[in-house]
Symmetry: C3
Subunit: 261 residues, 3 copies
Amino acid sequence: MKLVATLTMLSILANSMVCAQGTSGPSMPKTGPALDDLRAVAPGLGKFATSTVAELWKRPGLAARDRSIATLAVLITRNQSVDLGDEIARALDNGLEPKEVAELITHLAFYAGWSNAMAAVAAAKPVFAAYKVDAGQLPPASPQPLPLDEAGEAARSARVSEQFGAIAPGVVQNTTDVLFKDLWLRPDLAPRDRSLVTVSALVASGQVAQIPYHLNRAMDNGLTRVEVGEVLTHLAFYTGWPNVFTALPIVKDVIEKRAAR
Amino acid sequence: MKLVATLTMLSILANSMVCAQGTSGPSMPKTGPALDDLRAVAPGLGKFATSTVAELWKRPGLAARDRSIATLAVLITRNQSVDLGDEIARALDNGLEPKEVAELITHLAFYAGWSNAMAAVAAAKPVFAAYKVDAGQLPPASPQPLPLDEAGEAARSARVSEQFGAIAPGVVQNTTDVLFKDLWLRPDLAPRDRSLVTVSALVASGQVAQIPYHLNRAMDNGLTRVEVGEVLTHLAFYTGWPNVFTALPIVKDVIEKRAAR
Amino acid sequence: MKLVATLTMLSILANSMVCAQGTSGPSMPKTGPALDDLRAVAPGLGKFATSTVAELWKRPGLAARDRSIATLAVLITRNQSVDLGDEIARALDNGLEPKEVAELITHLAFYAGWSNAMAAVAAAKPVFAAYKVDAGQLPPASPQPLPLDEAGEAARSARVSEQFGAIAPGVVQNTTDVLFKDLWLRPDLAPRDRSLVTVSALVASGQVAQIPYHLNRAMDNGLTRVEVGEVLTHLAFYTGWPNVFTALPIVKDVIEKRAAR
C-alpha cells in the first residue's frame, strides 16, 4: 500500500518538478515552471509573461491555432522539453486537432530530425492521454495521399538531381520518394500548415538558406504576407530575436520578388 | 514516515542521478556527472577536466565572473540542462549576484527564446533555494529604467524600420518597445554584461550575422579587445571549436574596423 | 525493505518513463519511446520507423558501425538525450568498441561543447554498466599519441596564427596544443573516424563554414566519396533535411575541387 502511495506521489512529483516533461491540460499540472517560479527566480520574466507574451497570443494577423503550430515547430526543432507538454495542451485548446499534432510531429521527424520527433512523442503521449485522445482521432499510418502536382514535382526533382545527384544520390532519391511523394501528401495536416511548420523550423534552426524555397512554397500554399509578418513577430519570442533578424533579409527578398513578378 | 524518508531519498536520487537538473552548491550534489563518472566512461575527459578546462577558468584577461556569464549564456542558449545547475552555483561562487543571474535569464528569454528561459528558471530555482536567495536579492519586476540614449535609439529604430517595417511591423515595434526601451534598460544587469551575454549567445547559436551590431555595442559598453579574445578562448570549450572559428572572421573584421576609425 | 523495493521500482520507472535518459541494451528497457508509443501518438512515425528508417541502416555504401558513429555525433552535438542511450547501445551492437565510444564523446567535448560531452557521459554510464564494460576496455587518460604530421600541422598552425593570432591568441594556442597536438593524436579512435564524427557534428550544428577544411581532412584520412554521399543520406534523417541541403553545395564544391586537382 505504502509502495503504491509512494509511486503515485512519485509520479506527481516527477511530472511537476523533476523533469518538466510531464503532463498538462484538463487534469494535470504544467510541465514548465509556474508563474510563481518565474517570480521567485526572475521577477522580470513574470512581468513579461503576464503582459508582453500573453498579449502576443492575442495579436491580430495570425490565428492562435497558427501561433501554436509555429510554437510547437520551434520547441520540437530545438528539442526543448520543459514546456513542450504545456504547449501541446495549449495547441489542442487552440483548436489544433490531435491528428494535426500527430502529423506535425511526423513532419518534423524529417525537417528537424528523427530524434526530435522521438522526444515530441514522449512529450505528447501523456497530454494525449489527459485529453483522452482515442485511436479514431489519430491519422492512419498509411492514408490515401493528396493528389501530387506532377509537373511541379518533376521540375523540382530534376533540378535537385542535376545539382546533387552525383554527390549524394541517396539524398536525392529520398527527397523525392519519402518527402515529396509521401510525407507532404499525407492529408491530415494541410499543405499550408506543413509549410508553416517547415518555415518556423527553418527560422528556429537558423537554416536560412532553405527559406527561399519553403517560404515561396508556403505562400503558394496560402500563407499570406500579413501572416508571414506575424509569424516572424511570434517567432522572435520563441526562437529569440537573433534568429528572426537573420531571417528577415531573406524573407524580405522573397516577398519583394513575388510582388515584382 | 517511510513515505517521507522515501521521498527524501527520491529527491536526492533525482537530483544526483536521474535528470541532472537538480541542485548543487553549499548543501547539495552536482547536477552534472562527477569526475568519477568521467573517468568511468571517458578517461580522457577526466584528464582534460582537471587540466585544460580547470586552467581555462584561471586564465588572465577575463575575470572568472565574466567566464561564468559567458558559460551560462551558452548553456541557456543551447538549452543544456545537465550541468546548468552546477554552473549557476559556480557563477554565484564567482561573484555574480542572484539579481544578475535573474536578469541574465530574463535577457536570454529574448535573445535565445522564451522556453530557454523557462528551462533556466527550472534549473535556477533549487540553486537559489540552496544559496538561500531571498526576495530582497532579486531584481524588481518593473524597476526604474536606466536612462535611454535617445539619439542612438532613434537612429537604430529608424534604420530597422526602414529595412523591415513593411515586412514584419510587429517585430520592428517590439524590438523598440520590448527590447531597447525596456529589457536593455533594466538596471540590475549592467549594459556591458548584457552585451557579454548577447555576444556569447550569438556565438553559441551560430547567429554570426548579428555579431557586428552586438560586438560593436559590447565594446561601446566597455568590453575590451583583450576580453573579447578571451571570451572566444573560453567559448571554444563551451560552444565547441567550430562555432568560434565561424565567428572569428566576423569578430576580426569588427575589431579592425574599429581600430581604423 | 519497502524502501529498497520502492527505490528499485523508482529506478526502473525513472529509466523507462520519466527522463528517457536511462538505459538500454542486453538487460534494460529502451530510453526512447517504444514503437507502440509512436503508434499511439503519431502512427505515421510508426510506419516510417519500420520501413524507411529501418532500411536506412541496411543501405550499402556505409557500414552500420559508421552510421552509428554519425548518429551518435548528431545526438551528442545537439544534446538530444531521449534516445541517446538506445543509440549508444546500438553502436556497441554494431561493433563500435567501448573505447571508441569513449573517445567519440571526448572528441565532441571540443567539437560540440564541453557540456554536450557531460550529457553524453550521463547517458553512456548506464549503457556501459549494462554491457559490463570494464576499465580494461576504456582508453587510457593519457595514451601514447599517434605520430604527428609535423609539416602539415606547422602549416595549419601558421595559417591560423596569421589570421587570428592578434584577435584571439588563446584560441590559436589551444587549437594547436589541445586539439591538433593532443586530441587528434589519441589513438583509440582512428583519425578517419574522428573526421567522420567532426563532419557529422558540423552538419548537425549547421557550421558549414568549417566543412571544407574538415571534409578534405576526412577524405585525406580515408573517408571515400561514396561514403560521404551515404553519410549525407544518413544524416538527412538524423539532423533533418534542411541541414543536409545547406551542406550539400559546400560538399559538392569540395569533392569537385579534389577531382580537378
